[in-house]
Amino acid sequence: MRRLKDLIENRLSRRSVLSGTAAAAMLVTAGAIAPVHADDVNTTGLAVTEDTVKVGILHSVTGTMAISETGSVQAEKLAIEQINAMGGVLGRKIEYIQEDGGSDWPTFAEKAKKLLVSDKVAAVFGCWTSASRKAVLPVFEQYNGMLYYPTFYEGLEQSPNVIYTGQEATQQILAGIDWVAKEKGAKSFYLLGSDYIWPRTSNKIARKHIEKLGMKVVGEEYYPLGHTQFNSVINKIKLKKPDVIYAIVVGGSNVAFYKQLKAAGIDMTKEKPVLLTISVTEDEIRGIGGENIEGAYAAMKYFQSLDNENNKDFVSAFKERWGDDIVIGDVTQAAYLGPWLWKAAVEKAGSFDIDKVRLASPGIELTTAPEGYVRVHENHHLWSKTRIGLAKPDGQYELVYETADLMEPDPFPEGYQ
């Protein structure tokens, strides 16, 4: 009903010619059946008609990133279909235009521009890697679009044209390190990661936090994306005997890393060393094989196994739509939040205009999120809980810890740069 009230107020303020309760009553009935006139909710020429609104989906469905991004595409489509089944947004059905970024950053920029300039979409759900986000960012800022970005990432960014539905680095890292220090009595850490901005920035924050807590880092190493020979670092790990291996290896390299770790006799199910990762979701475990990563811990905000009503509904709807053998990782869930957050912001603003949606976004809450409850911060990131999961041989995580409170997103952490 709040929506209706917003609409009526919106109308009345614009059409002061109409007056009296008769007109209001008429509008109540009309509002319930016919949506508000397209011009009123869209003053900037977006692709909004009397009964539809166009949005864009921009992920890689071909190339090396396709395996990771497919889950996000599925989640976004599912959310859009569910929203449409509930009557759409401001009485309009969402139509999506899907574009393929092809795992190629310039292509992302080209397609983003196409969605904003030619298709005039009201929002875009998309991107996965930081590189693709960095490539489209100037496009979104120049043409004033709205991007819902699902991946956990390195922070150091806060654009008025992006809502970050994944966690930024501090949310993922601080709680994880606190937990491993307290619960596992860790004193020394070995940091390693793939060689690009996200693992490097994350390890920088991790190192600062580790040292702040009076523990020490005994090694820090990076390997190129796609690297498959981890024997030398595994030997160093065996030599230095750290309490915690802090791994931010991404993509296909994970398969080699965990298999070689196991082959080298580092048994993660034992007390020490603890393996803590922020980059392996259920999606990656499919490639690694549950038996190879059994006993590792992951720090992120969502696991498929979360035991709450929202998540049960989400998982069953997801499986019904996309098949029973599917797994749902952290990013997939964050991607699912995108269309819902956008819907809530549009309805709060009573308009599809990007500027109004932006103003309406901070403070938007979702109580129906599969991860539980999230709220949009002033800085366009989400307040969310951080959870620790224990990897099981069946490829799922078992929840072992979650923060009591929501973690505040802090993309520019003081003292960690």
């Binding site: 899907q98 574009e99 310039p106 920029a109 590189a131 390195e154 901005i197 490097r200």
Partner: protein
Amino acid sequence: MINLKSFMARQDILALLILAAVIFVAMPLSMDIFRLNLFGKYLTYAFVAIGLVLCWGKGGILSLGQGVFFGLGGYCMAMYLKLESSTPEATAIQSTPGIPDFMDWNQITALPWFWEPFNSLTFTLIAIFVVPALFAFIIGAAMFKRRVGGVYFAIITQAIAAILTILIIGQQGYTGGVNGITDLRTLKGWDIRSDEAKYILYYVNGALLIGVLILCQFVLQSKLGRLLVALRDKEDRVRFSGYDVANFKIFVFCFAAVLSAIGGAMFTLQVGFMSPSFVGIVPSIEMVIFCAVGGRLSIFGAVYGTLLVNWAKTTFSETFPELWLFGLGALFIAVVLVFPNGLSGLYRSYLAPHVDRWIFRKPPEEPSTGPEPLGTPAYDPEAVTRPAE
């Protein structure tokens, strides 16, 4: 025009005029600025493809590393633009204001020495030509003087492309890593992102391309051009005739490198960023495909080939986001099976005879240009029956 005719056959002039008409009139009239900007982006790849015609089609030197030079040109431009947009005011949020954002993310606190000169536009413009030329010269001299050629040369160029990509990605504090250099805004205070700037850049790009085509035509019609073809077909004979084969090869390789770099610099200006995904093996091979689709012996064919492949890429991927690669694959297979000499081969076999008859032979008002240039296949009545060039 007299001057032009001495090295351009009438058919080539016609081809040039048609291409100019397409670039300067037809496309701007039929497209909105977004599509035109895309088209301009395709045209920057055409520089590389033209270079490959000279290097590979005419000279027989297959380089699978042209992306390296495209990237060098593009990065030189991007470094200048990035420095200009990284003013202390614009980067006040960083721990070290005044340096490019990615350096700050990588804990670098001062501008590296090799970035310093890129504060100057003059230096940058010179670097766009000199850096790739010098690099190509070093590779060329090292290879050709030792008589490394053919497949071995192709493999080495590919290795260089791989090495440079790894270097760029690995040294992300200095290069922007896998993200590339993004968020470029202005050139000497002139906003390159506005629609007006895009139109201007598009025309500059088109004019450069036409200029390059004329220059290449000049090179090909000169003695040098014929020597290139000769050393492709019988390298030993050229050597025994007393020519220093290696020097010619080095020259054409450097020339192609500079052309690629011009394309790269124009790419950066029009698209607004540069990343290692243009430097590596895959884009380099793609550039060879552009050239092959166009027909590797024709500089005009190379331009159309580039446009066709990129247009197909964009259109297929917009229409079938999950299946488009199959469509593109089918196109390449069709090229190899059905018209192995590319678009220019098709033109030579099917259209050129008619063009000859209707435009150049029939109308009486078309005056004869005197002695016809030698070695121009377009004038050879046997051209149709010969294996198409």
